[in-house]
């Protein structure tokens, strides 16, 4: 050993390392998806079940003010709901990595500190993009259509993915804060389900009690749903003429910024405090 040249410590502060290490972690996370197909399959089944339940069971009893197809009203909301669950996907992934000891291995390596979190959120956006494609195909099968330009369609997809990225950071923070995968699952389900039900996803907000209407209007899941419906020409009954009704795209972007500004620093701080 005495004659062995000291390996020069790799420069790990740079942006290039942050990107290349982040991509290595992303690649690893993506490789895992087909190895545990149950995760993706049940994520899709859950959303498909909502489509079927509401399109065929409850939908008939829910008239849309201003008319329009309930299924075309429903599908953008289902996409938004699925995307909101990005937080759960990420939280579970992070907690699992902690409990399996992978995170400790990563932390012992001379890699960019940011790569574990950036790789996780990036791979979850890609994963959710994939789920979205499958859901859109099922949507097409039950009669959902896009009535606008390709550009507006892509803008809608872009908003969904941006929101997924923001929710992923919520998930990182959550995943780093809970002790087990089961808790991560419970916490995310008990918070995200009410979020997506106190919204305009399944019912027109007019049908809600008046004190709940503002909640449903400003709720990020509603705002995202409205924005996507508007962009794709799907029915989107409003309450009044407030800001959420007028500027859903802008408001979605604001929500994305707020979520990132709050949860990304919280998540990073949690991550750093793992060494305490």
């Amino acid at each position: 050993m005495t004659a062995t040249k000291l390996q020069a410590p790799a420069a790990t502060g740079g942006l290039r390392n942050a990107i290349s290490d982040g991509l290595i972690v992303t690649e690893r996370n993506l490789k895992r998806i087909p190895r545990i197909p149950e995760l993706a399959i049940f994520a899709i089944l859950q959303s498909v079940m909502f489509v079927l339940l509401f399109a065929f069971v409850f939908g008939g009893a829910i008239p849309l003010p201003g008319g329009g197809s309930y299924r075309e009203f429903l599908l953008p909301g289902i996409f938004a709901q699925t995307i909101a669950f990005a937080a759960a996907t990420t939280a579970i992934g992070i907690t699992d990595d902690i409990n399996k000891g992978i995170l400790d291995r990563f932390r012992s390596l001379p890699m960019a500190r940011s790569a574990v979190l950036s790789g996780r959120t990036l791979s979850d956006v890609i994963y959710n993009g994939g789920i979205l494609v499958v859901l859109m195909l099922s949507g097409l099968a039950v009669g959902w259509r896009v009535h606008s330009s390709v550009l507006e369609f892509l803008a809608g997809v872009g908003l969904l993915l941006l929101f997924s990225f923001a929710m992923s950071w919520v998930g990182v923070w959550l995943g780093l804060s809970v002790p087990t995968v089961e808790v991560a699952q419970q916490v995310s389900f008990t918070t995200i389900f009410p979020l997506t039900f106190l919204s305009n996803i399944f019912v027109p907000p007019q049908t809600l009690p008046s004190w709940l209407q503002p909640v449903a209007e400003w709720n990020p899941a509603s705002v995202l749903t409205s924005a996507v419906r508007e962009l794709w020409g799907n029915p989107n009954p409003y309450v009044g003429n407030g800001f959420p009704a007028g500027q859903p795209v802008l408001l979605t972007l604001i929500w994305v910024v707020i979520l990132l500004a709050v949860f990304a620093p919280l998540a990073v701080r949690r991550y750093r405090s793992m060494s305490r």
């Binding site: 050993m1 005495t2 062995t4 000291l6 390996q7 410590p9 790799a10 790990t12 502060g13 390392n17 290490d21 290595i24 690649e27 690893r28 490789k31 895992r32 190895r35 545990i36 399996k100 000891g101 992978i102 400790d104 291995r105 990563f106 932390r107 012992s108 390596l109 001379p110 890699m111 790569a115 793992m274 060494s275 305490r276």
Partner: protein, 324 residues
């Protein structure tokens, strides 16, 4: 290679504080193997986690390869490898995928990482399983892959945290063999273990840790001599013969003969070695005292450990009985 002075680590939780490290001092010279020996909860893993930059100490000071564990953690990470209880491989990736990934995160180029992965798979006898997901691996294979992962960056210093805990004897021997190969190549090694045999087998020197501090340090032989030298142990067949046997053994040796009535076991320290043993056998035979067992016993690390941590004194005849 490693110096640690007065390391303190306190875990705080709702139920109170645990002083996992309580002024731990440690040094390891380059190219040597230190075995960190202690019971569960003694602070072995915490020591490794602090030195491997996973945990910040609350007090004290430590350098690894000349770098400070708190201020120069990233430099340390590029010269160490960590394997064991708390660092793992991804069970949903194949063995090769794991090694290539870790190699690249050690900042090897993609081609280099691949070459290194193949080399390690060969060395660790995993080439046949290289393209299977780790989920399908046996416990021994998983540990070997874990160790291989830690080596993908060719570290100068290796931390092995209980590398063979839970392995069957054959896998343990295989693991020891690969660890010895690394040591022969000059890798400095810090090994934690609960197995005294393992420390004896692999380590140049041993540090016994209990309640977050080092309570003894030395080579296996030095530690053994702390609890005394060789002993002759005799198990007589009839309880009635104990008194006579003690008398005979007392004549042949110079130490105090300890008697355990319950197991009919007589133990006496001796400096005479095998010569003295032969004498005792001959005299007991002449006195027609039937014996079930007789032997010259060197203290094991178990004895050392129990003596140092103060549990040996608590062993009553009843405990002895349970153990035998």
């Amino acid at each position: 290679m490693i110096t640690a002075e007065g390391l303190v680590k306190i875990y705080r939780s709702r139920s109170g504080e645990v002083r996992a490290l309580n002024g731990l001092d440690l040094t390891i010279a380059e190219g040597t193997v230190l075995g960190l020996l202690g019971p569960n909860g003694a602070g072995k893993t915490t020591t490794v986690r602090v030195l491997a930059t996973l945990l910040r100490p609350d007090g004290g000071h430590a350098t690894v390869a000349g770098y400070d564990v708190v201020r120069q953690a990233q430099q340390i990470r590029s010269v160490i490898g960590l394997s064991g209880q708390y660092a793992a491989v991804d069970e949903n990736l194949t063995g090769r995928e794991n090694l290539v990934m870790f190699g690249r995160l050690y900042q090897l180029s993609r081609a280099e990482a691949r070459r290194r992965a193949d080399e390690l798979l060969e060395q660790f006898d995993l080439a046949d399983a290289a393209n299977r997901t780790v989920k399908t691996y046996s416990g021994g294979m998983r540990r070997r892959l874990d160790l291989a992962s830690a080596l993908s960056g060719r570290p100068r210093l290796l931390f092995l945290d209980e590398p063979t805990t839970g392995l069957d004897p054959r896998s343990r021997l295989a693991m020891w063999a690969v660890i010895r190969d690394r040591v022969r190549e000059g890798t400095t090694l810090l090994l934690t273990t609960q197995y005294l045999e393992e420390a004896d087998e692999l380590a140049h020197s041993i540090a016994v840790v209990d309640h977050g501090r080092i309570i003894a340090r030395g080579t296996a032989d030095e530690l053994k001599s702390q609890v005394g030298g060789e002993r002759i142990e005799v198990v007589v067949h009839d309880r009635d013969a104990i008194a006579r046997a003690v008398e005979i053994i007392g004549r042949d040796t110079d130490g105090e003969c300890a008697v355990d009535e319950h197991t009919r076991r007589l133990t006496v320290p001796t400096s005479g070695g095998a010569q003295r043993l032969v004498q005792v056998v001959r005299d007991l035979d002449q006195a027609k005292i039937a014996i079930d067992d007789i032997g010259l016993r060197r203290p094991t690390l178990d004895d050392v450990f129990l003596t140092l941590t103060g549990h040996a004194a608590e062993i009553t005849p009843d405990d002895e009985d349970k153990n035998s």
